[in-house]
């Protein structure tokens, strides 16, 4: 319990930092937000000034930040310059698509990476090990956006098995998830293979065997359990990268998600959307890492103990 509390307290400065960064963005971007909002509407200078007052841009910086934070706590992220709809609404309506892609990519990473890494680690030098090496070779080197195009070329255009762009169905999720998840499957395979090989050399494996544990039990209850800790930590750390990778994948496959929304908002300087997306991505990253630490703590109680001691 103290571990959970300590971990929660530690994430507060990061949350504050992310909101400060998102808040400052509106002042860092060249150009006047009020002008940007009224762009193309032939507004008079008086109208622009009026909007500036209305937006609170004439207030001192700390006051603006307090207002920003207060609105944030009420779930208000401002209005989009382009559609004039609430950003919070625009983001939440697109979030399920991005979450589905991120989740599916993580699933690909785990479903491909964990068994392959385990088998390759148990029998180094076997065919499975060669296969694992091939997977990680392909996954680490080929950029996911290039892999996406190759997969589309083969599975959509040549074989015609799957749609090339998003259709809103589960079929349309296969290629994006494969192309995005493959790289993380590669990292996971290498990580788990290395850990399993290392763990098999450790004392506790020898003593488990001496106690008469079956090889399967040694593998699952001892080796896998200990190998999974860095794997879980790695996936948590990579979550943010998968999320931003989803942004690029969404652009390729024409999926209407937070990522493609963010990318188009950056090019159109739609700052409230960028701010909202930063807060959303940053917070989900913090939450995921919190969950990861709690999961790791549950798998390996030693981490809790030494955190308490530190």
């Amino acid at each position: 319990m103290a571990f959970v509390l300590r971990r929660l307290l530690a994430s507060i400065p990061v949350v504050v930092g992310i909101t400060v960064l998102a808040f400052l963005l509106i002042h860092l971007v060249p150009g006047d937000p009020a002008q940007a909002m009224l762009f193309g509407s032939n507004a008079s200078p008086e109208q622009i000034q009026q909007l500036r007052d209305q937006l609170g841009l004439t207030q001192p910086l700390w006051h603006q930040y307090a207002t920003f934070l207060g609105e944030l706590l009420h779930g208000d992220l401002g209005t989009s310059y382009v559609t004039h709809n609430p950003v919070a609404h625009e983001l939440t309506s697109r979030a399920p698509s991005t979450l589905a892609l991120t989740g599916a990519a993580m699933l690909v990473a785990v479903v491909v990476g964990v068994p392959l890494g385990l088998v390759a680690g148990v029998w180094p030098g076997s065919i499975a090990d060669t296969a694992a090496r091939l997977v990680s070779f392909v996954g680490v080197a080929i950029p996911y956006f290039f892999l996406a195009l190759l997969l589309v070329l083969v599975f959509a255009f040549h074989l015609g098995w799957l749609p090339a762009i998003d259709t809103g169905t589960a079929d349309g999720l296969v290629l994006p998830a494969l192309s995005l998840g493959w790289g993380y499957a590669a990292i996971l395979t290498r990580l788990i293979r290395g850990r399993v090989v290392d763990e098999y050399r450790s004392d506790y494996v020898r003593s488990a065997r001496a106690r008469g544990c079956s090889e399967l039990r040694v593998l699952l209850a001892h080796v896998f359990r200990n190998s999974s800790i860095p794997a879980v930590t790695m996936l948590g750390l990579q979550f943010g990268n998968i999320l931003t990778g989803a942004a690029v994948t969404e652009v390729i496959f024409g999926r209407p998600g937070v990522g493609s929304f963010l990318a188009s908002s950056i090019t159109s300087k739609n700052i409230p959307v960028v701010q909202g997306a930063i807060v959303l991505i940053g917070l989900s990253y913090i939450v995921i890492n919190l969950v990861v630490d709690l999961v790791v703590g549950a798998i390996d109680p030693r981490t809790q103990l030494s955190t308490a001691a530190a």
Partner: protein, 357 residues
Amino acid sequence: MSTLAIARAGRVARRQSRSRSRQRLTSVVMVVVLLVFLVLLVHPGSFTSVSPLDNGDDFLASPGGAHLFGTDQLGRDIFSRVVHGAQPVLAASLGGVLLATVAGVVIGLVGGTAPRVVSVVVMRVVDVLLALPVLLIALILIATIGAGVKSIVLALGVAYTPGFARVVEASVRSLRSVEYVQAAKIFGSSGVRTAVRHLLPNLMTEIVVMVSSAVGWAVLTATTLSFLGLGVQLPEPDWGSDLAAGATSLSTAWWLSTFPGLAITVTILVANYAGDWVMTLIDPGRARSRTRFRLLGGLRSSLPPAAAVAPGEPASLTATSAADHVPASSNPADHVPADVPGPVPMPGQGLTSQERA
């Protein structure tokens, strides 16, 4: 028995000499490949006399014949575009990593040696930036300063700085309690002097490892940004933007995207292998498969300290890394298993057949 021993010794010696000559071969190949990339960066014209911007009469020619990689809708030679497209990618990723190295080392040294008030503030800011994905930081920066190769360099530099600063800070913290640093302090060496004269030289291995493992990631991020249209603008050649431009006609002309994509893939591969090669040069003892995760390992230290130590990170062979465990050893029992080398597998233990394979 003795004949067996002699035979075994012979086998071992032969294996050692074979691995040594293999290492030499790797070095030669690596140097040649890196030289090729250097020429691509400095003077791409030496590989092709065709201009990447010249429109030809041969539209959308498939690969082979007069145009090795084919031509695009305007009849431009893809091979020439791939050769010339290397420059922005290499310049952006190497420049970005260089920037991040300088900034990361300075910030890490400050975070590790400055008075508590300063270092806590600095490292908190680093923590916040670490909590954001690299690509997102880069995107935010480009949103504020606009697109272009220079923006990508700056964006990569800023995005990779927090990770580098964390790695350097962690190493500095572990070095601070080492005797010669303490001695320098006792003899009146100033903070800056200690940092530059005593800490920095001993951090060199860590820094080189960190940098060499980051270049591959930087190439990926740089090409992602230009793929999104935030780098070099068409018609100038660039792997990322050419890949994106060709994607629209993927079903009719596969070669437009495939060759820039292959170029990116080969570059990332070379960057990774070069990283491994540099590692074996400076520290032959370190396990090969671990190198590419050094950066992740560094990031992990931003989480609770226990998470960084407890997974049983095997003890490195360098003196600097061995010292990692010193300051945190409030709980010595935790570290003992990690510092003891694994048991040597005995014959007939069931494991040796796998080990040998």
